[in-house]
């Protein structure tokens, strides 16, 4: 789906959204950025809740809003967009079932899921007869998610839909969304503040900053941007794309190929569709300037440093390996002692990798 949003929205003296977005949305696009960067406003624009904004919104060539004719665009209810808001926004006078059924009545175009499937996967059956005020925050958000999935849509916009959920429900629901998105070819734009969440479900990442969407990256490119908004997370590190080579049943290790080097990963990955995405936390990568043989770490990749930034007491080093990059978090003392600088050839020693597959994320529905 081709999505365009171009123009400028000013609200008050200190809020400006300079939208300059022209992307092919496929799969899950994570929208990240500091609060106040305009993430929610961008979603509101696409949904049709800023009809008077002088911003042109175009979806698959269909002009929903025209900066030259504010207030005259396609009204929100005719846009085939389903939105899950930060707050559940359930209708207080209706039961969970009433809320879900409200969504099923629209005849606008788009993918429409079966009531029973949504109820089953989100485990809403026990909640159907209850009113919103009788539900917990997480339960309300699950009903709201189900309600949005039941309304016909060609695009789903999720504004931190999981922030109210406990980690266990998150792990269950995230893979379901990921799977839905692919099965029905409905792209999702997903606002997130959580790096693990982004790593788990994003295919591309949009970075919002200072009121503008400034970059659209693939997940590997985003993960190795040294100053991205989620870099402070403990899990920060490169996502790399690999090919499968073979599985060694003796050790239970799959051999993958990354930048012409072998990478050994536990488990049989022969059935995982390529490219296989691996997430390598920067804290689990060490650097060496000389070849070392007598060490237990199996995964060693040669590369060239292309950037070093200070990261608190430590330093974040980006190592280019062929077309892709790895990130390593090392002490500043190591940087000085090893005389690390852009251009230095190093060996990256990788202590842990996590495979990004939907199977890893949880059970399939």
């Amino acid at each position: 789906m081709r999505l365009k949003a171009q123009g400028e929205l000013a609200r008050g003296a200190d809020f400006r959204l300079r939208a300059d977005l022209d992307v092919d949305v496929e799969g899950v696009a994570a929208l990240v950025g500091a609060s106040g960067a305009g993430k929610s406003t961008l979603l509101r624009l696409i949904s049709g809740f800023e009809p008077r904004a002088a911003i042109t919104v175009e979806v698959d060539g269909e002009r929903w809003q025209d900066s030259a004719r504010p207030g005259r665009g396609v009204p929100a209810h005719r846009r085939a967009v389903g939105t899950v808001f930060q707050e559940s926004r359930l209708f207080p006078h209706a039961t969970a079932r009433g809320n879900l059924e409200f969504a099923g009545r629209s005849r606008r175009p788009g993918v429409k899921l079966a009531f029973d499937e949504v109820v089953h996967v989100l485990d809403l059956e026990p909640l159907l007869g209850q009113y919103p005020h009788e539900l917990s925050g997480g339960q309300r958000q699950r009903v709201a998610l189900g309600r949005t999935l039941l309304a016909p849509a060609k695009l789903w916009l999720f504004d931190e839909p999981m922030s109210a959920l406990d980690p266990a429900s998150r792990r269950e629901i995230a893979p379901y969304l990921y799977d839905l998105c692919r099965r029905h070819a409905v792209p999702i734009v997903y606002v997130s503040h959580s790096l693990p969440e982004v790593l788990a479900i994003a295919d591309q990442v949009w970075i919002a900053s200072a009121g503008a969407v400034s970059a659209v990256d693939s997940l590997p490119a985003f993960s190795t941007t040294l100053d991205h908004p989620l870099m402070s997370d403990d899990q920060a590190g490169a996502v790399i794309a690999c090919r499968f080579k073979s599985f060694d049943a003796r050790y239970g290790l799959s051999e993958l190929v990354f930048a012409d080097a072998p990478l050994f990963v536990p488990g049989d990955l022969s059935a995982v569709p390529e490219p296989i995405l691996l997430h390598i936390p920067a804290r689990d990568v060490s650097l060496s300037t000389a070849a070392i043989d007598h060490v237990s770490i199996l995964n060693r990749v040669a590369g060239t440093i292309d950037a070093i930034v200070q990261d608190g007491e430590a330093a974040l080093v980006r190592v280019g390996c062929e077309e892709q990059s790895l990130l390593a978090r090392v002490t500043r003392r190591s940087v000085d002692e090893l005389r690390l600088e852009p251009g230095t050839r190093v060996l990256a020693l990788i202590k842990s990798v996590a495979v990004r597959t939907t199977a890893e994320l949880g059970p399939q529905p």
Partner: protein, 221 residues
Amino acid sequence: MSVAEDIALSAWVTGLLALTTTAVLLVVSPPLAWWIARTQSRWRPLVEAFVALPLVLPPTVLGFYLLLALAPGGPLGAIVHTLGGAPLAFTFAGLVIGSIIYSLPFVTGPLSAAYRTTDGQLLEAAASLGASPTTRFVRLVLPLHKKALVAAGVLGFAHTVGEFGIVLMIGGNIPGETRVLSIALFDRVEMLDYAGAHAIAALLLAFAVIVLTFTYRWLRT
């Protein structure tokens, strides 16, 4: 006609008038109140003023203009006449028209006040689920403010029961047709029948106290 018969017949006319008027108002007022609560039209203040007129004008003023309008030579009367209808002045139908106008602010006012408090986030959520403005009103706004609708209906009913000036101007005093309780009371006093007047006055007072007490109590639950 005995006092008891007079009261019974007038109470019947009053009840029928109040019911008919309330039924019409419950259809007309919600959309009008919603429009007033939501519109950004520059005509809103004027429309609101017209709706609120019965609150400030002596009912006789409204009654006088309605009488002119409903008379066979008046604009409304002429339309009814061309359509082959009977003249409206001094009929029950004329009384219904007058009552609708007279009680309109008592139903529309509380409703638009309630509608103004509607959570815009819920309306957005409904729109994002594909609900058109009409669907949002019928399936979200009406049920959200169900209590306000019932309260406004009760208020409209009670207020219609208590009207006097307009009825006197356009309805007159035809037993079984336009003679309502308030007119019957006035009539009894004119005839110096204070005992009969007491009976009617006490009935109206008791009705008002009971209805309002129960409504306010119910609104709090």
